[in-house]
Amino acid sequence: MIAIEGISKRYDEVQALRDVSIDVPEGELFGLIGPDGAGKTTLFRLLVTLLLPDTGRMTFDGRDVVTDYRYVRRHVGYMPGSFSLYQDLSVRENLEFFASVFQTTVEANYDLIKDIYVMLEPFAERRAGALSGGMKQKLALSCALIHKPKVLVLDEPTTGVDAVSRREFWAMLRKLKDEGITILVSTPYMDEAAQCDRVGLIQDGQLLRTGDPATIAQAFDRPLYAATGEDAYRLLQALRQREDVEEVHPFGTALHVTARSDMDPDNVQRQLREQGFTGAHLAPIRPGIEDLFMRLMR
């Protein structure tokens, strides 16, 4: 459905994207994961015809995005990273306006947005600016869906949204995917990767890797351990000084230790206890996407 081949984009000072290629087949829920400033928004804005690439080619449903931009604009549903609906218009007025811009009506495509819109219905006459964050996000999604798009492009839809709304939102996306809509979504949260069919990791304008969220972390090619103990900060320093430890990163309450091939965890644990970390404990763990990210980012 979407083919991105060797796209590069440069702003005056910054190389925003470097030779990025992604293929998203029809009906897939593809997640673009990366920290702020990685180039996610630039890639999406290129795809929805808001920017022109310096090099490379993009096709949308088999049509060139740059030359056949009118086709893209008719068939893409785009939700920008910041709330971009009219705050001084009511929920219903926003929806009706966007429907009319696509020369359709709310009624004609009601079945697609029904599940989302019923939650908004009680606030139909309220100004969009007076909605809560979660409601704004639902309205934005409704407006992006009102013309039955073939592809939905969502730029960080869950940023700044509470945990419950985030879960709800992902459930809505899965339902839309079941309707046959191809979805591209970006997020800075690694834990949302599992919700996608496939993910791409992006950093500094470069696509590091794409793959199945369940198996992509297998690309992590070193033994990984979680270290716990009192005084985590001193423990981190002690571990970093060791010759047989490659990297240590704090992850929540634990420290994730990337071992060199010659490291013996029992030995490390014993020596740490001898150094005074009486509760020190090392256990092997399966690397997650975040671990892979940290490693790829080096």
Binding site: V48, T49, L50, L51, L52, Y69, R70, R73, R74, V76, Y78, P80, S82, F83, S84, L85, Y86, Q87, D88, L89, E93, F97, F98, S100, V101, F102, Q103, C143
Partner: protein
């Protein structure tokens, strides 16, 4: 076209919902019109004149009486010195200082020639030249009487040539008749240019343009939907302004109101095009405000509203050819005061049409849905 109607509906909804903008659109221009007309009144009354009568003769007293009889002058007489008068001028206690030298009457009697010295506060040049004009005419009138009295001439030797002025199209030289139409032209321009540019930039500023740009809406549909509301509002304001001018200031309406609106309808596309152009080069409402302001101040000062274009140096006159406001100020005065017909203002029409086409073409070219 249906899409444009939807855009219009949305724009009007937003404009009438904006509690901050509504008064600025409708109340401010009307108040400005009612107040500014008085502020721009150039008539001079109650000039404070201090006279140092060193002669103290019947002739000098008669002259002073004549100044005193004029409603334009408030005369204070002092027999003291030059320094006192100049001090009063310096302190702003008097607007003009007239000195009648010793022997004024004698000189007149002997040589038929006498001199007076008039010191004026020239800070406000326009004011000073008007005071000079009034003073000259009073002194001129007095001269005729003087000749009769001093030389016993029955048939006063009137000046051989006498120009009797008659101010056509504005018989009483009533400044309101000149200012109300002019100010109306400026106010209508202001609303068109400021509000249209700010309205488009607002969409940029709050990011809604991102969403709009990814829809099939065409550039011309969006622009037309953005500009048309202010076209209607500006014409509506012109109608209100004309009605108020007639009601409160009794301005003459000699020509066809329909013709005036036809011209305004075309002219407004110049101001709206300017607004559109400004919006394409600004990213924030603040920037667009400054740009609009910059252009508007130049346009208004060169428009001939306050100072006649004919009095400007040649290079400034050349600049006024490119000032759209000057054409509207001229046309509104021509049609209202002189009753000019469509043929009379055909040249203005042509220029404004060209201007509108050029500025809108430029603005549309500069307006990009993507970078």
């Amino acid at each position: 076209m249906r899409t444009v109607l939807h855009m219009l509906r949305k724009e009007f909804l937003q404009i009438f919902r904006n509690k901050g903008m509504l008064p600025i659109i409708f109340v401010a221009p009307i108040v400005q019109l009612l107040v500014l007309v008085h502020a721009a009144d150039f008539e001079v009354r109650n000039v404070r004149l201090m006279v140092n009568d060193m002669d103290g003769s019947p002739t000098s007293r008669a002259l002073i009486d004549r100044f005193g009889a004029s409603e334009r002058f408030q005369v204070t007489v002092t027999h003291c010195c030059f320094e006192k008068g100049m001090a009063a001028l310096d302190a702003g206690a008097t607007d003009a200082f007239l000195r009648i030298p010793v022997g004024f009457e004698q000189d007149l009697r002997r040589s038929m020639h006498g001199s007076l010295m008039l010191d004026l506060n020239g800070v406000d040049g326009q004011f000073a030249s008007l005071v000079l004009l009034y003073s000259r005419s009073i002194i001129g009138n007095e001269q005729v009487d003087l000749m009769q009295r001093l030389h016993g001439l029955r048939d006063a030797p009137k000046p051989p040539v006498d120009a009797i002025p008659r101010f056509w199209y504005n018989l009483g030289m009533d400044y309101k008749n000149l200012m109300v139409p002019g100010l109306l032209a400026v106010l209508v321009t202001l609303v068109g240019m400021f509000l249209s540019s700010m309205n488009i930039v607002r969409e940029k500023e709050i990011g809604t343009i991102e969403q709009i740009n990814v829809t099939p809406i065409r550039k011309w549909q969006f622009i037309l939907g953005k500009l048309l509301p202010f076209w209607f509002i500006s014409l509506f304001l012109l109608a209100i302004g004309l009605a108020l001018g007639k009601l409160f200031f009794h301005i003459p309406i000699e020509g066809s109101v329909l013709l005036l609106f036809a011209f305004a309808g075309v002219y407004l596309w110049v101001t709206l095009g300017m607004g559109l152009f400004i919006s394409t080069v600004s990213d924030t409402q603040q920037q667009s405000m400054f740009l609009s302001w910059f252009f508007l101040v130049i346009f208004v000062l060169l428009s001939g509203l306050f100072t006649p274009i004919e009095n400007m140096p040649h290079w400034a006159q050349v600049i006024t050819w490119f000032d759209p406001v000057s054409y509207f100020v001229q046309v509104i005065r021509l049609v209202l005061l002189k009753g000019s017909s469509a043929m009379d203002i055909a040249r203005h029409f042509g220029i404004v049409v060209l201007y509108a086409a050029a500025i809108n073409g430029l603005a549309v070219m500069n307006y990009r849905k993507r970078a």
